[in-house]
């Protein structure tokens, strides 16, 4: 019996621990607020009305600027400043990008537990607005019009694009804060110049020439290592269908992405697949894959795997972001592997119909929102205070670090790292956790920012790299299809089925799982209609006409 009693005592102790642990979250939040104001209040013992207000708790969910770098540490100086100067206890959470982030936000939304301030995240490029519409329709996000007056400097620099504000305006009120668009038209078509030179080839200008060069790259050992280990083209699926990494093929036929913005008119707005030229572009895709000149892993690769492969010299033709291609930290591994390797930007290929479009300019921008719950709890003013601080006094701290320690400012306001310890420089990998908010809330693309973010440099092999001049300027000067209106199109109700039918159908043709013939293509189009393609097109046309975007 004694032993039973012992067991009982131990059990009660364990259970009380478990219960205490379960109840734990409630305790600190209840206890903390009285403690915090007490500290400043005590020395003066001033009458109660003059004591500073209790710090406001703000939860903020943002994506990372550098996903692999992690969040800032708990003792980050910015947290102290925000607490002491702004009276805000900031809880900053980094959420994953794309689908994972969207799933997390949706789960929080379903529990009516969205954070106070958050970045709207989406699986699909440009899908952020769709998700904001969802949250708006459910009454989970608050109008932010009143905030603009509370943060004049930020509004002037960040929220000055009326087109973007209009996109986030529902029923007369603005429901999202559109971050300044990232640098537009920043991706492009590039080729390994050293491979072309080694095989004595000219850069391709048409789809046929592309196939010929890609074939040579695959079969004629362009890197001269005596092994059959190269492919012509590298890609991965990014976006609907085969994704935009094959823009150089589809652009030559004027059928970039899903919607036909090239031939859009008030009476006609269709899916690109209806354009007979899409079929021709598909024939090129089939030919490329049949010839085995595309890295065969492309349908399963992730972005990181794709990027690892061009750095390993696996293929010589691709569509890539200028910074991912040429910024120092990204280019270094490639330079180490191939000191003589170099990527040359190419203009759009010219199709048989003479068309040569480069890509779709769909004006990407991040969307931030304030939850209705935060506004109900009276936090809007504090959020505006925080955002204004980030755009003013906190700008350099959150964007680059501490002046004199992590960066220097010259008299013109440009950033440099002369005399700064290498590991402490704002651009060092060690410093990345401290500037995680920079792409989300800090930068707005001033000249000083752009030159600080994409500086010219010399590689170890002595190659002069000029990311902006060599790549970005070239890409931006090409013929892009304006497709800003794309963001207004809402996905159909059966999105998962429709998207699957569309993506799967196209990929199956490209990989040769289904033979591409006029009949099988017609069958595919009929299948799409069965999934409600016509209704989807009509709805899209309606939305764009109503917005006056079809001219």
């Amino acid at each position: 019996m004694k032993s039973w009693k012992m067991i009982f005592v131990v059990f009660v102790l364990v259970l009380s621990q478990i219960l205490a642990a379960c109840g734990a979250p409630a305790t600190p939040t209840e206890v903390a607020p009285p403690e915090a104001p007490e500290a400043p209040a005590e020395p003066t013992k001033a009458p109660e009305p003059t004591t500073p207000p209790e710090p406001v708790d703000i939860t903020m969910w943002l994506q990372a600027t550098v996903t692999e770098a992690g969040p800032p540490p708990d003792d980050w100086i910015a947290y102290d400043i925000i607490r002491e100067e702004l009276g805000i206890n900031l809880e900053y959470v980094i959420i994953p990008p794309a689908g994972d982030g969207e799933a997390k936000l949706n789960a929080a939304a379903a529990a009516n537990d969205l954070p106070d301030f958050f970045q709207v995240t989406s699986t699909n490029r440009g899908g952020e607005r769709d998700n904001l519409v969802n949250y708006y329709e459910l009454g989970l996000v608050a109008p932010v019009d009143d905030m603009f007056a509370m943060m004049p400097e930020r509004t002037k620099n960040h929220y000055n694009n009326q087109n973007l504000l209009d996109l986030l305006t529902f029923d007369g009120a603005v429901y999202g804060l559109p971050a300044p668009p990232s640098i537009p038209k920043r991706e492009g078509f590039v080729i390994r110049q050293d491979w072309l030179d080694a095989l004595d080839l000219e850069a391709p200008t048409t789809p046929e020439e592309l196939l010929a060069v890609a074939k040579a790259f695959t079969e004629q050992d362009p890197d001269g290592n005596g092994k059959n280990d190269t492919y012509g083209i590298g890609a991965f699926i990014e976006g609907p269908g085969v994704g935009r990494r094959f823009n150089f093929v589809f652009g030559a036929y004027g059928v970039l992405d899903v919607w036909n913005f090239v031939d859009a008119s008030p009476d006609k707005f269709e899916l690109n697949v209806r354009d007979p030229q899409y079929y021709e572009a598909m024939q090129v895709m089939v030919a490329l894959n049949e010839a085995g000149v595309v890295d065969p892993d492309w349908p399963t690769l992730s972005k990181d795997e794709f990027r690892a492969r061009w750095k390993q010299g696996r293929f010589g033709i691709m569509w890539e972001d200028f910074a991912a291609l040429s910024n120092k930290s990204n280019y270094e591994p490639f330079d180490t592997n191939f000191p003589d390797g170099s990527w040359t930007p190419l203009p759009a290929l010219i199709g048989p119909g003479g068309e040569a479009y480069y890509g779709l300019d769909d004006a990407q921008f991040n969307v931030f929102a304030v939850s209705q719950r935060a506004v109900d709890e009276g936090k809007m003013e504090a959020i505006a205070r925080l955002l204004e601080w980030i755009a003013t006094d906190g700008y350099y701290l959150l964007g680059f670090g501490e002046e004199g320690v992590n960066f220097n400012l010259d008299e013109k306001g440009f950033i440099n790292i002369d005399g700064i310890d290498e590991a402490q420089a704002y651009s060092a990998p060690e410093r990345q956790p401290f500037t995680q908010m920079r792409n989300q809330l800090v930068f707005y693309n001033t000249l000083a920012e752009i030159s600080a973010r994409y500086p010219n440099y010399t590689t170890e092999g002595g190659r002069e790299m000029t990311p902006i001049d060599t790549y970005l300027s070239f890409f931006q000067s090409q013929n892009w299809v304006p497709a800003f209106a794309k963001l207004l199109i809402q996905p159909p109700a059966n999105a998962a089925d429709f998207e699957r039918f569309y993506n799967e159908g196209i990929i199956q043709f490209v990989l040769g799982q289904k033979e591409l013939t006029p009949e099988s293509w017609a069958e595919f189009l009929a299948g799409l209609d069965g999934q409600g393609a016509k209704e989807y097109e009509a709805a899209a046309q309606q939305v764009l006409s109503d917005a006056g975007l079809l001219k």
């Binding site: 067991i7 009982f8 492919y231 998962a496 089925d497 799982q513």
Partner: protein, 320 residues
């Protein structure tokens, strides 16, 4: 005669009373056992029965602001949406194929490995093998995908290098509908079989060594010992595992498929859970997602009940 008839009904309540009293008394006598059980019971109430309340959104048009209770009822609409969805048959087929194949191929293999480990007399070898086969269980599917890409890639994968060495054409295992199912099933077996042996090993160790000794004295061969002692000894565990797996027949391993599949193999790889992720979670149709979960639960319950009966009748084994 009459007294008997009269006595019968009066006896029944008495017996009931007695049994309740008896039950309470037994419970009191075993109160410490019940007490030890409370954390588990609390776990089930909080994490399993509590959330059942929220399952009602399967029959509602769930709006977070209105809450679970306040959202309007829509009846079986979401079930209809799922069952009438374009890919329903294919999703069901893929799910069941993966589930059944993993069970049918994975379970016997785990039993065989467990018996082999049990039979071996080289203790050090046994420990080594056990560690090696448990290891993949602790790798996440994301890591496994990396490993599989290195092995299966048609470009420079190990397996394809071997195929090419023997004059074959490289095979795109991960993107070919012809091979993808096998990739899923075999990779699951590779990852989980080792871990699955633990239960059977434990059951084998529980068999009295006397039986083996007696059999050896009687001249039984090792195979006869396995057939007549080991297998019948672990049969209850095999039945238990199979029955429990029947309850999860419509769960074919979301993590695995989600990491491994890609558009070219949707037709043979898309399962109920990945569809729910895309249509329910990403498109903010939580009611639909819940309805599908409910549907899976009901099917699982029905299957577990039927198979329990079948097992009871055929193998004289059951879980309740």
């Amino acid at each position: 005669m009459t007294t008997k008839v009269l006595a019968l009904p009066s006896k029944v309540p008495a017996a009931e009373k007695l049994s309740i009293k008896k039950l309470l008394r037994t419970m009191w006598r075993q109160r410490w056992l019940y007490f030890l059980m409370t954390p588990t019971l609390i776990y089930f109430v909080v994490f399993k029965y509590g959330p059942l309340w929220n399952a009602q959104i399967a029959f509602k048009d769930f709006k977070p602001l209105l809450g679970v209770w306040g959202s309007p009822w829509v009846g079986f609409e979401h079930f209809g949406t799922f069952i009438n969805s374009f890919y329903f048959t294919e999703l069901m087929a893929n799910t069941i194929i993966f589930s059944v194949a993993k069970l049918v191929l994975g379970l016997p293999l785990a039993v065989i490995v467990a018996i082999a480990l049990h039979e071996t007399w080289l203790l050090r070898f046994r420990t080594l093998v056990q560690t090696a086969i448990y290891l993949p269980h602790f790798l996440s599917w994301v890591i496994m995908f990396g490993v599989m890409l290195v092995i299966l890639s048609p470009g420079n994968g190990l397996l394809n290098a071997i195929i090419e060495r023997f004059g074959g054409e490289p095979i795109a295992f991960l993107t070919s509908p012809k091979y993808f199912r096998w990739v899923v099933i075999l990779s699951d077996i590779w990852k989980e079989t080792g871990w699955g042996t633990i239960l059977y090993l434990a059951a084998l160790l529980a068999i009295s060594p006397d039986l083996y000794e007696a059999a050896a004295v009687d001249g039984a061969t090792p195979l006869q010992r396995i057939w007549y002692i080991s297998l019948p000894g672990i049969l209850p565990v095999i039945v238990l595992v199979t029955l429990l797996r029947m309850g999860h027949i419509l769960e074919a391993g979301f993590n695995q498929i989600f990491v491994l599949y890609s558009i070219p193999v949707y037709s043979v790889g898309d399962i109920i859970d990945t569809w729910v992720y895309r249509q329910g979670v990403l498109n903010f149709q939580f009611s639909l997602a819940t309805a599908v979960g409910f549907f899976k639960g009901v099917i699982g319950l029905v299957l577990i009940t039927i198979s329990n009966r079948v097992a009871k009748r055929l193998a004289q084994q059951s879980i309740y």
